[in-house]
């Protein structure tokens, strides 16, 4: 980004470096939210609908994992993907793919835990009906997920928000490489360390605006969806 520019100037002038950073932040965090949903929702559903020994412990651990420190996830993924680590062959450390992997791990528990709660509440409501209709286990899960889809969007957004806001994991596994793995949050950390506090806070405002925009879009889609679905 050019020297001595304010965040507002960068936004208004359509600074390509800033837009590349915004694009990467969105691609990484939205991909992570999507993958984490694909993992987390079925996992949450399995726990919601099944009774097994140690289930309470699994629920407690899952809820606790919502508070996973990003820097710990980042370090674990770093050690995994490092050339000296078990998955070093992939060669994806310091790439956006590594950042997506780290954020997926970070937010999958959040989405799973929220989905578990949502689906369990719905399950209590539907249980007798579904039993009477003699629906199989997969059918039950599908029905519950489908009927809870609008609430599950909130879980996805919670995951996305967490991913878009974190810096600890992406800076370790991405390396904050200029024009390649620099996101909004790592750029903010960098500008802070350069002592350019006005630009750093300005970028923070831009990040906030983007997160609000994504949430507004999701809300709009949800409202339209609910109206169409009745």
């Amino acid at each position: 980004m050019p020297e001595n520019a304010s965040a507002l100037q960068l936004v208004l002038s359509g600074d390509p470096a800033l837009y590349a950073i915004v694009r990467l932040s969105l691609v990484v965090s939205l991909s992570a939210a999507l993958f984490a949903t694909l993992i987390g929702v079925p996992f949450g559903a399995l726990i919601a609908l099944n009774r097994f020994p140690g289930r309470e412990a699994v629920v407690v651990v899952l809820n606790a994992l919502m508070g996973l420190p990003p820097v710990v996830v980042g370090l674990a993924v770093y050690l995994l993907l490092s050339r000296s680590g078990p998955l070093g062959e992939l060669g994806i450390l310091f790439t956006p793919q590594a950042m997506i992997v780290a954020q997926t791990i970070l937010i999958a528990p959040i989405i799973a835990a929220l989905a578990r709660q949502t689906l369990e509440d719905l399950w209590n409501e539907y249980r007798d009906e579904l039993a009477a209709m003699d629906v199989g286990p997969l059918g039950r899960i599908a029905t519950l997920i489908w009927d809870a889809r609008f609430s599950l969007v909130t879980a996805l957004l919670a995951g996305f928000g967490r991913a878009a806001a974190e810096v600890g994991a992406v800076i370790i596994v991405g390396g904050n490489i200029d024009g390649f793995t620099r996101t909004m949050t790592t750029a903010i950390a960098l500008e802070t360390s350069k002592g350019d506090l006005p630009l750093a806070i300005g970028l923070g405002m831009v990040l906030l605006a983007i997160v609000i925009l994504v949430n507004a879009l999701a809300w709009g889609t949800r409202s339209i969806g609910q109206r169409v679905a009745g």
Partner: protein, 281 residues
């Protein structure tokens, strides 16, 4: 609905697998220090290198200790750092092929303009550090095993003050504050707490949040700060891009690369002084 979702997923999967293929097209990873990045040096010289060779240099900027560790693990092709003894150890252990001196700048002692230790204008860094301790003026240490941190500890030893030992004996006073962060963060902390801090001149010149801070001590020979560049040993890590990495090293120590370094200035001040050919650098 499902098919549309499937297409979306397939698209993401395809973009994920396609990205590395494009990225591997002539690029290297250089693990370097916060000073080279924060000072803007790389922003100046890397476009010149890319224009000449087409090689994309991806800089991961860390402290010297962490950058060498990144090299040790095989996660970088080249390390570009500033702590000669650690660099020589890195090569001796077989992790690096050869160390080439590149350039130097100097460290400066930064402090508040109220100057509680009364050392402003001194050219004797050792005496200044002794005074800071005697007057228990706040001192901010990087505390992150970076090159600057190593240099700072070496200067304290020259002043016959063993920080590590005082720390383990639990007699180190609260005037000495280890923050465990980069150069910019240390300057921010010094600015906020009116403390003294050892900084490299490059980061200082490009630093924007100076507040009450100014240079307290400079010009001492012992504040010399040498940078070296090393290719990570392909014998240890076969994934190292030997040819491209060496091309970067050859360029940066060539007259052209050295001129590019000398040409980088902030407000007319040269930040780094090339010395690839200086004996013993």
């Amino acid at each position: 609905m499902i098919s549309r979702r499937f297409i979306l997923l397939a698209g993401i999967a395809a973009s994920l697998t396609a990205a590395p293929a494009a990225a591997q097209e002539k690029s290297i990873v250089v693990a370097s220090t916060t000073s080279t990045q924060d000072s803007g040096l790389f922003g100046h010289i890397l476009p010149l290198f890319k224009a000449k060779t087409g090689i994309d240099v991806k800089v991961v900027s860390q402290g010297t200790g962490q950058a060498l560790e990144t090299g040790r693990r095989g996660d970088a092709d080249v390390v570009f750092v500033h702590a000669k003894s650690l660099e020589e150890k890195f090569v001796a252990e077989g992790f690096g092929v050869k160390r080439y001196p590149v350039m130097y700048n100097d460290f400066i002692l930064i402090g508040p303009n109220s100057d509680p230790a009364g050392i402003k204008g001194s050219r004797d860094i050792v005496a200044a550090l002794k005074t800071i301790k005697a007057k228990i003026a706040p001192f901010i240490s990087r505390g992150d095993k970076s090159g600057t941190h190593a240099a700072e500890l070496a200067l304290w030893r020259l002043a016959a003050i063993d920080i590590a030992k005082e720390k383990s004996d639990k007699i180190l006073g609260p005037w000495y504050r280890e923050i465990g962060q980069g150069m910019g963060a240390a300057l921010n902390t010094a600015s906020a707490s009116n403390g003294y801090v050892l900084a490299d001149r490059g980061t200082w010149l490009s630093f924007k949040n100076r507040g009450e801070l100014e240079i307290a001590v400079e010009g001492d020979q012992r504040l010399f700060n040498q940078y070296g560049v090393i290719l990570v040993n392909p014998a240890k890590h076969p994934n190292v891009k030997q040819e491209l990495g060496q091309a970067f090293i050859d360029w940066i120590i060539s007259p052209e690369g050295q001129k590019a370094i000398a040409d980088y200035k902030i407000n007319g001040q040269q930040l780094f002084f090339p010395n690839a050919t200086a004996p013993g650098a």
